[in-house]
Symmetry: C2
Subunit: 412 residues, 2 copies
């Protein structure tokens, strides 16, 4: 039997940490990333945290000759920070914004303002000689950051995101031949969110599957050796943590194998700084047509999958109850502020009508108190609306997971 | 050649106008809708504007025997108002919330708070004898309302929604055999948004395709004869308008034909009120397996499609420029308020340090002015952030449309 031709696909993934005014030596690093990408010719580059459109434009101009196709995904107040550069045409794009993404009042964490999303770029392999057109879905993405592992208040939000991401991939990938996902998932390899994502979509982890690996120990991408990382956050993990992934999956009559996986290890060659506070992940994939189509690999471990979905559903339930408590207390606060305002209005009217004692309070404090009550009313109403949405989305995800569990359990 | 068996699918679609405390005779109407649905056995029921979860629960209990499967889509502050009842199992659901949906400060229009979305329910036809499993995607949905046709400020938002909806359908429907979409699109049949949606997805309009039609003239679903409609809004349209649709499409080796389309005409039989301020749309579809698979019907009229996309892109561009102006003016307002606050702070500090004249203003007015400036600062910053998002999403949609135009024009 004649062997089918193989396509060798080199993928580059990096969380660039390019926040204007905040990230250290940003412009220098973006220039360095551009130079490296131009020199080492990858086929597909998935970048995250390119928050400034100017940085994207600069990269686009610099990389136009080797990566003629690119796309920047716009969303949220600041943007999604996601972009793709490709040697092959990008035929279509779609952006899915997660329904939950942290709290607007946690200004120091800022996730809410980013409009974290998954971008979908759909390209065609028709021109690169795999034999037939093999649409490729590539998804750069970033999930909600983890700020404190011991008391991770954002776990339910991250699980909702992981679930929505998995559902998005399941529903959009049906006509693709190969799905490629690269990004900063902000989850350790054994976390429930990663297990959920991999189990529910059938995606494979390039690090676990790679024939050859070269780079930081255990494939870590946030390492204490990197001069930009917060050393204190990594104290419990002396080797670092692995939170950036390249995941892939062949859908129809194709097979994908990870030939090689590399991570950068600190400073780029010839300079004193690394690309970012994260290490880059680079994978070489071999895509080959199979003589016979094989079914979806999902279904081999459905019992394990049901356990993972149940575990995730429990965590989402914990988040739901916390959200319901906050929903209730912000509502109560709004009602109290409203009552105070009404009381003041009545007292003022009473004084005006000459019914009560003259000027029970000094005018200034009375006025200040009214403004304070008004401020509390506005803020707590806003919070109440926000938590209403949060409760709805967590509840909706719990429902969807329940439906998934039922389908998993009913299968013969 | 033996004829393949035909599946007869009866679909019911209605905008229920069931807003708690606001909609007239809501509970009576919801009860009426439930009774009718129980009596006339449809296969699939797509409802919109069921804003109260209690109404959904009541319907679910009442309809459990004839529609054992149902789903309520949760989103936004108030909810999406969307739900599905089905005779056949619902295997999976996904909710896509449009990225733009009106303005939070237009309280009287309220669209922003609804989290308008398209729900996706994916079911299996395996048990109903079409021969093979034929996944069916059914999408209940609602787009942004049109409040003034002459000066329609929401047109760009509705176009972004129509585009996102079309993209969502294109990307999720690949593995389905039949796509069914029912809902209140808030667009007249000849509007650019409808042409865009139909052209870009290949969906067919059940009203235009139906062999037999029975109901309001021209298939109108918002008619002056209905006792709940605002007569003044329909003055330019003495027959009414058609804004509720059932659209469908066969994807792979199936054909769908619309055998019959009906709309309700005013009061339900035996009572004095209609179901809602909208008329219900009921379609009978015949789904049949084709001996040979046919290609996607898209591509027959690509020149026309390119014109429609270009027209929509122009309108989105108009919206983008308006959003940029609002973005700029809210930013300027915030800066002015900040300057005023700073000036006041300097004056107060100066007085305290004994540098300036004593008490240039009475304390109370000084204090009131400061609170006013603070209020303006908070509001205009909020607006500025909102318009930043709006600009990003309009810009992103313009980009996507440009990419679509390029692909359309490059095709041989």
């Amino acid at each position: 039997m004649e062997r089918e031709p193989t396509l060798r696909l080199r993928v580059f993934d990096l969380n660039c940490w390019a926040i204007r005014y905040l990230s250290k030596r940003r412009q220098e690093r973006v220039r360095l990333i551009g130079d490296t990408l131009r020199r080492d010719s990858f086929d597909l580059v998935l970048l995250q945290e390119v928050w400034s459109e100017q940085d994207y434009s600069d990269l686009m101009v610099k990389l136009a000759s080797c990566y003629p196709f690119s796309h920047y995904f716009r969303s949220g107040v600041i943007g999604s920070g996601l972009c793709v550069f490709s040697r092959f045409p990008i035929l279509d794009t779609l952006l899915y914004q997660y329904s939950l993404n942290g709290y607007p009042y946690m200004l120091q964490h800022g996730d809410w303002f980013c409009g974290k999303s998954v971008g979908l770029g759909s390209g065609s392999r028709a021109r690169v000689g795999v034999g037939v057109p093999a649409p490729l879905l590539s998804l750069p993405l970033q999930l909600h950051a983890e700020y404190c592992r011991e008391k991770d208040a954002y776990l339910p939000h991250r699980l909702v995101q992981a679930w929505e991401l998995a559902q998005f991939i399941r529903h959009t990938s049906k006509a693709a031949d190969v799905v490629l996902l690269g990004g900063d998932l902000n989850m350790h390899p054994e976390d429930v969110g990663i297990r959920l994502l991999r189990g529910w979509t059938g995606l494979r982890d390039a690090f676990a599957e790679a024939k050859h690996f070269e780079g930081c120990k255990n494939g870590c991408t946030l390492v204490p050796d990197n001069c930009f990382t917060e050393k204190s956050e990594l104290l419990p993990f002396p080797l670092g943590i692995r939170i950036d992934y390249i995941l892939y999956k062949a859908i129809s009559s194709f097979t994908v194998k990870c030939e090689e996986l590399k991570t950068t290890t600190g400073p780029a060659p010839g300079v004193d700084i690394p690309f970012s506070d994260h290490e880059a992940v680079m994978a070489t994939l071999h895509i080959q047509r199979q003589p016979q189509a094989v079914g979806d690999t999902l279904g081999t471990a459905e019992l394990v999958l049901a356990d993972v979905v149940a575990e995730a559903r429990t965590e989402v339930g914990v988040g739901l109850r916390a959200a319901q408590r906050q929903h209730y207390s912000s509502g109560r606060m709004a009602v109290l502020a409203l009552l105070l305002l009404l009381l003041q209005a009545m007292a003022a009217l009473g004084t005006l009508a000459g019914l009560g004692p003259d000027q029970p309070f000094p005018k200034l404090s009375f006025c200040l108190l009214a403004f304070l009550a008004l401020g509390v009313l506005i803020l707590s109403t806003g919070l109440h609306l926000f938590h209403t949405m949060e409760v709805k989305m967590l509840h909706g995800t719990e429902d969807q997971m329940w439906m998934a569990l039922r389908v998993l359990q009913e299968r013969p």
